[in-house]
Each structure stands twice: as C-alpha cells, then as structure tokens.
C-alpha cells in the first residue's frame, strides 16, 4: 500500500525553508528586508500552514469516515 504524504507537514516545511532562506540572505547582508515585506512574508507562511492544515484535516476526516463505513 502506498504511504500517504502529510500535506500539512510538507507545506509547512516548504514554507519554513523559503522563509528561512530569505531570512538567511537578509542576515548575511545579501538583501535588505523592510518591515512591511517581512510582515507579509510571515503572514504568507502562517497562511500556507493554516491552509494546508485545513485541507489536510478535511482529507483526514474523509479517510476516517471511509474507514468507519461498513464493507458491503
């Protein structure tokens, strides 16, 4: 059986890597971030995590319901 991917962890991981990379570039002096940009960046990261969490939960709930359904 194919192992399913945890969408929330995957999306969160990608978002965190993206934000971490931008922060790394800023802290190493390669780019200069403004307060507005950083705020938007973090909001986007949290938004992606919440969205993925919501979608993942819907799928989980659906899977649970599928398991609970009696076999015909």
């Amino acid at each position: 059986m194919r192992r399913s991917v945890d969408v929330e962890s995957l999306a969160a991981g990608i978002a965190v890597i993206a934000v971490g990379t931008i922060m790394l570039l800023d802290q190493s002096g390669s780019i200069e971030l403004t307060a507005t940009l950083v705020g938007a960046l973090n909001a986007a990261m949290i938004g992606v995590i919440l969205l993925a969490g919501g979608l993942g939960r819907d799928r989980d709930t659906g899977a649970d319901e599928e398991e609970d359904r009696p076999e015909r």
Binding site: R3, V5, D6, V7, E8, S9, L10, A12, G13, I14, A15, V16, I17, A18, V19, G20, T21, M23, L24, D26, Q27, S28, L33, T34, A35, T36, L37, V38, G39, L41, N42, M45, I46, I49, G53, R57, D60, T61, D64
Partner: protein, 414 residues
C-alpha cells in the same frame, strides 16, 4: 486522524438533572439574535431577553467588559438542543481545532496587548477593560484551551491543564526570547539556518507520517527573527535606561549621537543655554523601546524622525504603523536650531517642546497649559526667521568664535 472530539453533539440530561427536577442550568437559548446568550440569561433569571441585550449593548461604553463576557459565554455555555431536554455541549468542546485556535488567539492577544500597554487597571483612561488581572486570567484560559484541544486536558484535570499549558507557553516564550536575542546580537545567520533545518525535517517527516509538532518551534524561531530582520534592532548598542541632560552644547558627544539598543533613552536638551547662531545636528537612534527628546519651547527644531514599527509623537503630531516618518521645518535656517535625526526601529519616538513638561509623562499634551495644536504651532513658530536673524546669526558666530578664543586663552594661561 479526526478533528472531532469524541464528545457527542447532543447529550441527554442525566436522570434527576432535568430542567424540571434538577437545579436550573444556564443554557444558550434557541431564541437568538446572535449566539443566544442574552436569551439564555433571560430564561435563567426569568426576565425579558431584550433587557439583557440592552445591558450588553450599554456595557460596550464601560470598557467593553460586556463584549468579553458575551464571547466567553458564547464559547463556554452549553446550548439548548433541538429536542426538549437535549443539551448541546459548549462550542469550545465540539472541535479540537477551535479549542486550540481560541487558546492561541487568547494568548497572542493577551501577550500583544499586555506588552504594548501594560496598565493594571486602565479605567481612568477610558480604555477597554483588558487590564493586568484579566491578562493573567486570559493567559490561563488560553493555556487550558490549548491543552484541552490537544486531548490531554481530560487526563490532567483543569488545574493540571492550566499549569501544563502555562509551562508550554513559558517554554516557547523562552525559545522566542533566545531567538530574538541571538538575532539581535549578530547571530541571525545561525537562527535562520536552524529554521531551514526544521523546514527540511518537516519535509522529510511529511513522507514518514508527519511531524506537525515541529511547526511550533519553527514559528517560534521565524517570528522573532523576522522582527530582527525587519527592524535591524541590535543589542550591541546597549540595553536598559539611558538619560542624558547636557548642560552645554559642548557636553553633547563629539559625534553628536545618542544611541541605545533596547530600553528607554531620554535626551533632555532644555538645560542648555541656547544662543543665537547655535546650530546642532543631533542623531538619536534607538533599536527597541522608547526614545524621548525634550527641547525648549523657543528652539527651532528641524525633524527627520522615522519608526520602522511603532509610533512617533512629535510636538503634538502622531504617526503610527510600519515605516512611518515625521518631518517638520525642513529648510528652516533660524537660529538657534536643532537638526534632529531620530530613528526608532520598534517602539515610540517622542519629541517634547515644552519647558515644563515632565519627559516621563506619557501624555504631556493632556495638560491645560500645552495642547497638541499649541505644541505644533510653537515648533513651527520657533523656526520663523525674523529680519534680525541675519545679524543675530553673525553675532552668534562671533560669539562662538569669541568663546573658542577665550577657551584657548584660558588653556594657555594654565
């Protein structure tokens, strides 16, 4: 994994606990305009629900306590079921996600409000009710909701859940502070690398069952680092309280700069005997906290003040938000003159142009003697050059040369 609690949507009343036999229970009513809270209270006390609704509406004018109470009751009070005798559990128990979200929201709200303007009992300012005692109460409720939302609340009991939740918050708070400290002391690259590492672990774990718990530490690292990145705040310039009250222009540092990393920076220039012809270009830089500069009423001040994240209150002018700035009297050449270049990354920058105002007074413009418009007008008026200014400036330059000459002669005599 299911998001839903095992708690049934409705539950029968226990034998002997019916509305007829047992003690009366407060339930949200099905006769509702919003969440049925007013209707429920009306039923409970046997009064017209409209009276309760009016009371809630009026309470908004008394610090907003009614709004907080309404939301709390809507979340925590059970609801009348569809069938007579049925009771639906409180909203907060129906969904784990809702419990966690409400808990985190309560904690974030409490922390952000509490850190921004901590006042144990702000009734005297006509503000909202949220004071110090409520801050801790809400934090405890938030902790309880988070722990309960994770499913552990039932095993721990309410007190254990509150203590466990508070411990988790404190732990995350310490990690937050450490990340902030690391970023502000020039170790942001390490924190950013850790963040990327956690991201990689999350991606790998996603294919092995997931590791959602890693999201919390990732956010705890990302948010403070974002603050540091956005504001360039640095602990390197010092932390704490700094007060400077130079008595002469010569007492101002040679580089004409006062700076502080984090804390409260006060620069009071009112003791200086400003002479015509005096021109001082001064930098006041603060990373995080509050910077206050006080100047005499009749001194011409040319301002160029900026705040990355926070507020500027300059001689009655207010500006707040992200990347805000304040300029006034640009191009003025009246003397004596202060050319103030102020910068605060996170916090507040205040410029007070009043001879008598207390520099520590958070609301100096509330006094009858000094209104906000007066302060602004005084600042502009001080920079209006009169015809004698040209001569005065020359005289001032002569005076300065004379002072310098006297100082040289004094040194030679010694």
């Amino acid at each position: 994994m299911s998001d839903q609690n095992p708690t049934p949507e409705t539950q029968p009343i226990e034998p002997g606990g019916s509305e007829q036999d047992g003690p009366k229970r407060l339930l949200r009513s099905r006769d509702r305009m919003l969440a049925g809270v007013a209707g429920g209270i009306g039923n409970y006390f046997n009064i017209d629900a409209n009276i309760v609704r009016i009371a809630f509406a009026l309470s908004i004018m008394f610090g907003g306590l009614g709004v907080v109470a309404y939301v709390a009751l809507a979340l925590f009070v059970p609801e009348e079921g569809d069938q007579p005798g049925e009771i639906k559990p409180p909203v907060i128990q129906r969904s784990r996600a809702l419990g966690i979200a409400a808990g985190v929201a309560a904690a974030l709200f409490v922390l952000s409000w509490g850190l921004a303007d901590f006042d144990p009992w702000p009734f005297d300012r006509g503000g909202w009710f949220f004071g110090g005692p409520l801050l801790f109460l809400l934090l405890a409720v938030g902790a309880y909701l988070v722990v309960r939302g994770t499913g552990r609340g039932r095993d721990l009991g309410w007190l254990g859940a509150v203590l466990f939740g508070l411990a988790v918050f404190v732990g995350l708070g310490i990690a937050f502070a450490v990340a902030f400290w690391a970023g502000a002391t020039g170790h942001g690259v390490i924190v950013a690398s850790l963040l990327i590492g956690i991201g990689v672990m999350l991606v790998i774990a996603a294919f092995n069952g997931g590791a959602r718990w890693l999201i919390a530490p990732a956010l705890v690292l990302a948010v403070p680092l974002a603050f540091v990145a956005a504001t360039d705040v640095s602990f390197g310039d010092g932390v704490g309280e700094r007060q400077y009250r130079p008595a002469t222009i010569d007492a101002i540092p040679d580089d004409r700069t006062y700076e502080l990393g984090i804390g409260h920076l006060v620069v009071d220039l009112r003791n200086i005997d400003w002479q015509s012809g005096d021109v001082v270009a001064l930098d006041v830089d603060l990373g995080m906290g509050q910077a206050a500069v006080a100047v005499p009423e009749d001194l011409c001040v040319v301002t160029n003040i900026s705040a990355s994240m926070g507020a500027i209150n300059a001689a009655g002018d207010h500006a707040a938000g992200f990347d805000t700035s304040h300029q006034i009297n640009h191009g003025a050449d009246a003397t004596p003159r202060l050319e103030l270049d102020g910068e605060v990354q996170i916090g507040e920058f205040r410029l007070i142009n009043d001879d008598d105002a207390d520099i520590d007074d958070p609301h100096p413009w509330d006094d009858d003697d000094l209104t906000e418009s007066d302060a602004r007008a005084a600042l502009e008026e001080a920079c209006v050059a009169d015809p004698a200014d040209g001569e005065a400036e020359e005289d001032g330059a002569d005076t300065q040369r004379e002072r310098a000459g006297n100082a040289c002669r004094d040194r030679e005599r010694r």
